[in-house]
Each structure stands twice: as C-alpha cells, then as structure tokens.
C-alpha cells in the first residue's frame, strides 16, 4: 500500500519490471539500479517516466547526473533498524536537489513516518494497514524540531532567535 505525504492512499503509477523482462515503451517503470546503470541513456530516452530502486549500500552519487531525468527513486529499508537510506534521502534532496518522487520501501512502520518525511521522502510503501490509518497522528506528533533537515522546517534554535528579535522590536516600539 502506498501513501503520499498527506497520508492519502495512492495508486502506484509505476510498474516494477524484472531485470530479465522487456521494458514497456509507454508505461512508467521501476527498475533495478543494476539494470539502469547498464545503459542509463537508452532507458532515459524512452517517452514514459523512469524510476530506479536504489540499494542502501551503494553511494547515491552514482545517480547524480541522471536525477533531473528520473521521476522516482525508491530507497530501501531491508529492516526497520537499518537506517542507511535516511542519509541517502537527505543527500539526494539537499545536495543533488532531486525533485522527483522519493519512495520508502521495505520495513516501513508508523514510528518512522516523521523521520522519513523530514529526510525528504514523499511516498511510503507501508507494511501494515493499521499504520496507514495512523499516518496523520504519527506525522503531527511533534511541533518542535531541533535540527535542520530536508523538510526545511524552522529549527528551535532559529525560532528562539526570531521570537527574541520580535520581542525586542515590540519593546522598542512600546518604549518609543
């Protein structure tokens, strides 16, 4: 089941194509990194959108020069506790400015939703239906964020300063 970042269940627009199967010319496809890298230019010349499943033990830099033509990168969580793809996601979003769909696949549970979203994921392949129902609650649980990430939220460090500046402006106005 796929959820978008508002928690809505969405259809998968991409067809997963095995490495030995023929690529349909007009359908959006999701293919392995190995297949993609074997001949990226040929694959990207197709009309329909391309998505790549990128393993979590491979440097995402290898994708950098193709990112503006990729519609989707799927990053994997083979186990809940394996957090490598969080770094990959932030690097794709923040360093390489990837604007396409970033999909979390594998062992994806509700307790990760907020971390995933903050790291730049916008589509979540969810294992448990009950977790899908709890999406809104899980991502709105926190209102304070201490560190900058891919979601661009203002950190508490900054908010304190903004508040202090506004406070002193008000005081100055009251005094003036």
């Amino acid at each position: 089941m796929l959820l978008n970042k508002t928690g809505k269940i969405v259809e998968d627009a991409f067809v997963r194509v095995a490495d030995d199967a023929a690529l349909p010319e007009s359908a959006a496809v999701l293919i392995s990194a190995a297949r993609f890298l074997a001949d990226p230019e040929a694959i990207l010349r197709r009309e329909a959108p391309t998505g790549v499943v990128w393993p979590n033990n491979r440097n995402v830099e290898a994708l950098a020069s193709y990112l503006d033509r990729l519609a989707l990168v799927a990053l994997d969580f083979p186990k809940f506790r394996d957090g490598r793809a969080y770094s990959q996601a932030r690097i794709l979003r923040e360093r390489f400015r990837f604007r396409g769909e970033l999909r979390a696949t594998g062992d994806v549970l509700r307790d990760q939703f907020l971390f995933l979203m903050r790291s730049g994921f916008d589509v979540f392949e969810v294992k448990k239906e009950i977790d899908a129902l709890a999406f809104a609650e899980a991502v709105s649980r926190y209102s304070v964020f201490y560190q900058p990430a891919a979601d661009g939220r203002q950190t508490a460090f900054r908010q304190r300063l903004i508040r202090a500046t506004e406070g002193s402006r008000l005081l100055a106005r009251a005094a003036g």
């Binding site: 957090g83 969080y86 971390f115 201490y146 900058p148 508490a156």
Partner: protein
C-alpha cells in the same frame, strides 16, 4: 544551570505522549516484543533479568535540587526506593513496571527530565566534565556545546537508526575528567595560537570487546563548525558502519578497518559539502543558549576562611576536606564530591532519602545545583569554603561523607549479574568485598590515587580496560572467573591495561587485588609515586612475580 524553555518542555511532553502510545500498542499486542524493543530502547527502557529498567538522562551530568527531588519521588513511587547513578552521568531505576512507565516519565517531564536516547542505536547523552563551569583549569564551559549538541541530536531524523550506539564526550580543561579518548567522538576544547576557540576531534575510541583509544582526526576545528563536522562523521558512519555483526558495528571498527587517515578524508569530503550550510554555528544562537545557563551570584569571599582552620582540628573532617574537596575557580568557594561508595555498598547507588537529603544540602550550600560524575559520584559544585564544616556534618549524618574519592575503594562497577541480562558474572559483590578489604581510610590515603574498575562481562560497562586495576568477569565452565589488568587510564593519557595473568576464581579476586597493592607498596619509589606511575615505570613483570609468589 540550563533551564529548559517552552520549546524543550513541549518536545519532552510530546515524546512522553508518543511513548505512552507505543506502550499501549505493546500492551494491546499490536506491536510485537521485537518491534517494541527498538522503540523502547530509544527511550531508555531495557528488559533486564528481573524487570524493565529505565535509564533517565541527566544531560552533561547537571541537575537541580528540584530535579533530584523528582528522582527521589520516582524511586519511591515506581521503584524500590533507590536509584543507580551510571558512568555516563545518567540514573537507572531497576524495578519499573511497563504499564507504569508512561506515568513515571510524565512525572519526570514535569521537572524537565526525560529518558530520550539513553539507549538504542542513537547519539546518547552528551557527557562532559562534572566540574564544568567551576573548574579552575577549563577555558570555557563545555556544557554550552553539549547542550547545543543535545538539542541537535535529539530525535534526529537521519541518525535515529545508526549501526550502533554513539557516545560523545566533551572536555574543556587541561585535565580530562570526561574520558574523551574512549568515546565514539571525543571533543577537546582548546585555543589555537591566534587565541580562537576550537576542538580537537578524536574519533573511534571505545571499550567493549574490542577496546581502542580514539584517534585524533582534526587537531583544530573552529567552534563554528562543530555541528557540521559531527554531522559529517555521523553521516559517514551511518552509511558505511558495519551492520552485519553487532560486535563490529561501533564506529571504532569502521575507523580501524578504513584507517584513521582514510576515515578522516571521507569525513572531510562530506564536511566540505555541508560546513557552510545551516549547521554553521551562528554567534547569536550560541549566545542564546549560553545565556540560558545561569551561574550563581557568588559572594566576595576569602580563600581559607577562619571557620575552615578551626574545623581542621577534627581529624575526620580534615580527612574529608583533603580528599573530597577541590579548588573552585571563584575565590572562597570549593567543589565538593559526594562519595556514593560507602564501605560494603553497591557503587553509585543512592536511596530516595539520600537524594532528598542531597537536594536539601544543594539548596542550602550549592545554589541548588548538583552534578553527576562518570565515576558514579555526585558533586555539589558551588560550596562556600566557610560552609564546609557544616556541610560535612550533614553529609556525615546521611552516610555521604566517605573520604575515599579517587582512592582504592572509589570503585566503578557495572550492575553485573545482579541485574543485567548480558552479564556473565557478578560485579557489585566483588566491589563490595574490595571496599571491605580497604575500609581503613588512613591506609587507603597512604596508597594514594588508585582507580579500580569492574565489568561483569566483555561489554565493559565498568570500563575495566581503563582502570588502574581493571577487573573483568568471564564465565568458565559455568563458574565466575575474573581477569585482572594493570595500568589502564581514562584521562588525557588514556591507555588500556595489561593482563596480569590467568583469570582467578570469584573467591580469589579480593586476595589477588590485595597482593597487587602489596606489590605496589614494595615497588614504588616514593610515597607520592601513584600506583599507575609505578606500573608505567616498572612494567607488569615485577607485579606478575610478586602476585604469583603470593599464591
């Protein structure tokens, strides 16, 4: 003291609510124990031999008297009336019930205390010098950086599922009281030739089954870059740290396998890409955090007031003064260490009544502030020297004036097989027996500085590798044996101890340590050559000969 503001308090409350929901899902069966395990560990909850254990964070070891009273309350209401202070400046409650955990955490949250990231594969409590802010030999208060780092690493979206736990320690003094060289990252604040403040960055230190002294990978990192550089280290580690074997997953193994130089290059490449981004430390942000650390309004007082001279005539007071009281950076004041190592007791334990008593004394004599040190003792950081005699009488009455700080009976020990599900052997009874053997404080003072560290298994929570005398419990054919090492140290000259010989059975540990101590007395050149220096000078062999001859 750092005071949490509404941002901090809101986040703690939100964390308690999240954890309450996770516990409810576990109790209803919606979460399996396997799934819950990872979640509870991120909030300091372990499953021990007999019960759940809650480890509560005391960031950089600073707490207020009100927070201490809250800990006492939790010890009484949810536990069995005591708590255990740890080597990472935290406190553990050993008998908490799962269904009561959320309420206990909610009560702690009222006092601005939490258990976030005291366990799990995350950045743990940032530790520092227990004398931070008052030590005469420090260049700046390291807790400001520790607090910035605490906030930055709390619920970090990228680094909440690291290969393994991650411990960071900071020192800002000439003498390292925070053991920074045996941490995943050790930061040593110092000034360069131009007078600017920056950090030496040491990485890949750690104990456990594969002990390493950390490698220095950056001699001078400008203070403005410390967050981005740490983020770069964590990012390299998160991607390349081993996940195939839990025993090889700490950053020390990655640093060792790549080599410190190659590792440093990887970090540098990552850091260059992010150093001028949002993580560059803004002076205004630094000043804002620094401004929320309040310092006492010290009085203008003379050093060595007449009250002190008069009280010295009491021998027991004199012994305590000489042992447990250190110089403060403000004239007329002193730093008092409260020993949690009385003869025959488990190291680091305090009863709820003692916690309350310490809170009262902190209010009366230390501007309401208390510290926890990694040696599992407590500290009153701002005591007027003229108040020392009164304070001593009160501590003595509460059983908190044992004058053994830094001496042979000031033992660091892990909980061992009495509590811990990982342990192979007991630690606490070994420590208790040793404190009985060395209960004569006069004799202990003559022995001088001597640190004994005991771990009940190879995970080394008692830091045995860096004890002047290290004791490691191992199991042999179902029986408890102990390996003894000599010559370890955890400070700026950090070193791992050398094995004395074959492991000895439980019943012989105290005898063997006594033999080692006797050998030292024979071997030392002068009475002020401490044990560690004798071991360094003569090596392990003369000790081997004497201890074996004694058998």
């Amino acid at each position: 003291m750092y005071r949490y503001d509404d941002f901090d308090r809101t986040l703690i409350a939100e964390r308690v609510a999240e954890f309450r929901d996770q516990v409810a899902r576990r109790l209803s069966g919606e979460l399996t124990e396997e799934e819950f395990k990872l979640l509870r560990l991120m909030n300091g909850v372990y499953l021990q031999l007999h019960a759940y254990m809650l480890r509560v964070a005391l960031p950089y070891g600073t707490l207020s008297s009100d927070q201490m009273r809250k800990l006492a309350h939790v010890a009484r209401r949810y536990d069995r009336g005591y708590g255990h202070f740890t080597t990472r400046q935290n406190i553990q409650f050993n008998w908490i019930k799962l269904h009561e955990l959320p309420d206990a955490l909610a009560e702690l949250a009222e006092a601005g205390i939490h258990a976030m990231q005291t366990s799990g594969n995350v950045v743990r409590n940032i530790t520092t010098d227990q004398w931070a802010g008052v030590a005469p030999d420090e260049i700046e208060d390291p807790r400001i950086y520790a607090e910035i780092l605490r906030q930055h690493s709390t619920l970090h979206p990228e680094f909440s599922f690291l290969p393994r736990k991650f411990k960071i320690a900071i020192t800002a003094a000439a003498h390292d009281r925070a053991a920074v060289k045996v941490h995943d990252i050790g930061l040593r604040l110092h000034r360069n030739a131009a007078g600017e403040t920056g950090f030496e960055v040491i990485v890949g230190g750690g104990l456990g089954r594969t002990p390493f002294i950390g490698k220095s990978i950056k001699p001078f990192l400008p203070a403005r870059d410390f967050l981005s550089y740490i983020e770069a280290i964590l990012r390299v580690y998160n991607q390349y740290g081993r996940r195939d074997n839990i025993y090889k997953a700490r950053i020390k193994i990655l640093v060792h396998e790549l080599g410190a130089e190659k590792f440093a290059q990887e970090v540098e490449a990552e850091w260059v890409a992010i150093r001028d981004g949002q993580l560059a430390l803004d002076q205004a942000v630094f000043a804002d955090i620094a401004a929320r650390f309040s310092y006492p309004n010290y009085l203008t007082l003379p050093d060595n007031p007449p009250e002190l001279a008069a009280a010295r005539k009491n021998k027991r007071f004199g012994a305590w003064l000489g042992n447990s009281v250190a110089n403060h950076k403000v004239p007329g004041y002193a730093i008092v260490t409260i020993s949690l190592k009385p003869v025959g007791a488990p190291p680091g334990d305090a009863t709820a009544d003692q916690m309350d008593a310490i809170a009262v004394l902190a209010d009366r004599y230390s501007f309401g502030e208390i510290r926890v040190g990694h040696e599992q003792n407590l500290v009153l950081p701002h005591v007027a020297q003229r108040d020392l005699p009164e304070l001593w009488r009160a501590l003595d009455a509460a059983g908190l004036a044992t004058p053994n700080i830094g001496l042979v009976s000031d033992i660091i020990a892990c909980p061992g097989l009495d509590y811990c599900s990982l342990a192979n052997t007991r630690s606490i009874p070994v420590a208790q027996e040793l404190t009985r053997r060395f209960s004569d404080h006069e004799q202990a003072r003559e022995l001088g500085r001597l640190h004994i560290n005991i771990s009940g298994c190879i995970n080394a929570c008692g830091h045995h590798h860096v004890g002047h005398i290290g004791i490691l419990g191992v199991e042999k054919n179902g029986e408890e044996f102990y390996q003894i090492t000599l010559g370890g140290q955890a400070d700026e000259n950090a070193a791992l101890g050398t094995l004395l010989g074959p492991a000895v059975p439980y019943a012989q540990v105290a005898d063997t340590v006594e033999d080692v101590v006797k050998a030292y007395l024979e071997l030392r050149e002068r009475p002020d050559e401490i044990f560690l220096d004798t071991v360094k000078r003569v090596g392990i062999e003369p000790f081997k000969e004497r201890v074996h001859a004694a058998e």
